[in-house]
């Protein structure tokens, strides 16, 4: 198992797509075992931030994993430290759940090599843990939305990386499945000491699960810190253009409610 409690730090990250700046000097810091949610209005650069952290985009600035600059790591080495699940993963319809999940072991397999018995065992154990063992032989084309999201998570987990980057893990899921997936992530995080960075557009969900939060708008950091300091009525009004009421639930976590600007007649 990889070292739990690995920190992630991003300093002054800048990304330009088609010469247009998309991220301008964004920074974040998540300590080991922490859940950091990246929130912001559509087009703020949330997904770009995760992709740049993973080295999928050209960027300036620094990404440190466990204190080591990610840029200096060999691709396979970096893949053992950080796992990434995109917002809309490609899932070839005719691959089985087991075959797909096993691909997550790639960073441990030599370039033209084959996976070892250990790789298969790790994959089997992860599927077991996510209640997917019974689906192992099923093809991806025949999964429901919730099952697909769990399978993507399984693929990221067999990477055994201490840092998990999840881009909108709850998109396209209904309420119950959103909760199920986030509970699952939280359980795994607490059990394995994973550091989790998610983009998430549902502020209510983000407030319930994240430890800390980064709010970006127009490619810049506008607020960061503990969830209660970021999910405030003035900040959400200014950057989302939304009228909301933020209250606290019994555990002290913020609840975000939309308010209609003009009350219904």
């Amino acid at each position: 198992m990889s070292a739990a409690g690995t920190t992630v730090e991003v300093r002054d990250l800048c990304v330009a797509l088609d010469r247009r700046p998309v991220l301008a000097g964004v920074g974040l810091s998540a300590s080991g075992g922490e859940w950091l949610a990246v929130v912001g209005p559509n087009g703020a650069g949330k997904s770009t931030l995760l992709r740049a952290m993973m080295g999928l985009l050209e960027s300036e600035g620094e990404v440190l994993v466990g204190g080591v600059p990610a840029r200096t790591l060999k691709p396979r080495r970096r893949a053992r430290l950080m796992a990434y699940a995109p917002q809309t993963p490609l899932m070839p319809a005719s691959l089985t759940v087991f075959e797909y999940t096993l691909l997550g072991r790639t960073p441990y397999i030599s370039h033209l090599g084959r996976e070892s018995r250990h790789d298969r065992e790790v994959t089997g154990a992860v599927l077991e843990r996510l209640d997917l063992a019974e689906l192992a032989g099923r093809t991806l084309g025949r999964l429901s939305g919730g099952e697909r999201q769990r399978v993507v998570l399984a693929r990221a987990l067999v990477q055994q990386a201490p840092v998990l980057l999840l881009d909108e893990p709850t998109t396209a899921l209904d309420l119950g499945h959103q909760q199920q997936v986030l509970e699952l992530v939280d359980r795994l995080r607490l059990a394995d000491g994973l550091t989790v960075v998610t983009t998430i557009h549902d502020l209510g969900l983000a407030g319930q699960y994240a430890d800390s939060m980064l709010l970006i708008a127009d490619g810049r950091t506008v607020a960061s810190g503990p969830v209660r300091e970021v999910l405030t009525e003035p900040l959400l009004a200014r950057h989302f253009g939304a009228r909301v009421r933020v209250t606290e639930d019994p555990t002290g976590r913020p609840l975000v409610n939309l308010i209609r600007p003009t009350p219904p007649v």
Binding site: M54, P75, M82, P86, S94, E99, L112
Partner: protein
């Protein structure tokens, strides 16, 4: 399991291919003659020297060549489909056919030396793909596959236009050009030796990359996040697949549909992992073309049908069937 069945099917096809032909060589004699080739077995086949000559110098190289060409085309097709994540990609997608067609026509029309046609076709196929790849990579950012396909379309239509122009200069050569384009397995051992080295290299490289093609199939971003350079894998597969296509085209002209139809059957029978699809396509393609060639030379015997006509005749309806059946599930 699927591989064992495919090998058995290939064996049957090869035997059938060796037994049938214009000259009636007794089937039993063929079997005994083959058994005689096995180590530690010595039997008298009862074939006359003339029949033996026919078997070894005409039928056998032809069957072997059909098997190699079919295997290469199907393997290349599977590779292209993996690289482009598109089940409809075929080995000629990036201008290999048009390139080979142009240079082969050039040689037939201008040089009129049949011996040079394979080399010209080989060079043309490789050149066409290189042109498309070069264009696709300079036109688009970061080697996206869509740009590459569009570059292939542009290169193919340009080279086809050139070919049409050249062939109109010498209309009297039209029949020979046409015969080449429709494809045919010539079949003497020299052609087998001509492409064997390229065939071996491309087959070796492709089969070694099955797992990495699976990684590629989940997307460039995820491949990269798993520590695999998608661009590099794509380039290696494209090179190997194009080498396979060029070798096949060099000795057989343009044979369509094998590259699409066979990988499809493989995928339906054995699932989507390229670690199975690639070897199964290789074996299945070999069996399919041996069979198609047998049909091509027996249906109108002693005249021959162009093999491209046979594969398309079987391939086109099958293709429609596949499209109808997979409308809902393909990636």
């Amino acid at each position: 399991m699927a591989l064992a069945v495919a090998l058995a099917v290939l064996l049957v096809c090869v035997l059938a291919g060796l037994m049938t032909g214009a000259a009636g060589i007794p089937a039993k004699g063929v079997v005994l003659e083959l058994a005689d080739l096995l180590p530690f077995v010595s039997v008298d086949s009862g074939l006359s020297p003339v029949e033996q000559g026919l078997l070894y110098q005409l039928r056998m190289p032809r069957v072997v060549l059909a098997a190699i060409v079919g295997g290469l085309l199907a393997l290349a097709g599977a590779g292209y489909q993996g690289v482009f994540r598109n089940p409809l990609a075929d080995p000629y997608l990036l201008g290999a056919a048009a390139g080979a067609g142009f240079t082969a026509t050039l040689v037939i029309v201008l040089v009129q030396a049949d011996g040079l046609v394979p080399l010209a076709a080989f060079a043309g196929a490789v050149g066409g793909v290189m042109l498309a790849y070069g264009l696709g990579n300079t036109a688009g950012r970061g080697g996206g596959t869509a740009t590459l396909v569009l570059a292939g379309v542009a290169v193919a239509s340009f080279l086809s236009a050139l070919q049409a122009f050249v062939q109109q200069i010498r209309v009297e050569q039209l029949q020979r050009i046409y015969a080449w384009i429709l494809g045919g397995i010539g079949g003497d051992w020299s052609q087998v030796w001509l492409i064997a080295p390229y065939a071996l290299v491309s087959i070796g490289v492709m089969l070694a990359h099955g797992r990495l093609l699976d990684v590629l199939s989940v997307g460039d971003d995820e491949a990269t996040s798993l520590g695999v350079s998608a661009a590099r894998v794509r380039l290696v597969i494209l090179c190997a697949a194009s080498l396979a296509t060029a070798s096949a085209v060099a000795v057989s002209g343009l044979i369509g549909f094998v590259g699409i139809v066979v990988p499809h059957i493989a995928r339906r029978l054995a699932g989507g992992s390229y670690r199975v699809v690639l070897p199964l396509s290789l074996i299945g393609g070999a069996a399919f073309l041996v069979l198609a060639d047998m049909v091509a030379r027996t249906v109108l015997a002693p005249a021959e049908l162009p093999i491209g006509v046979v594969t398309a005749f079987i391939g086109a309806p099958f293709f429609v069937g596949v499209l109808r059946a997979t409308r809902a599930v393909e990636p």
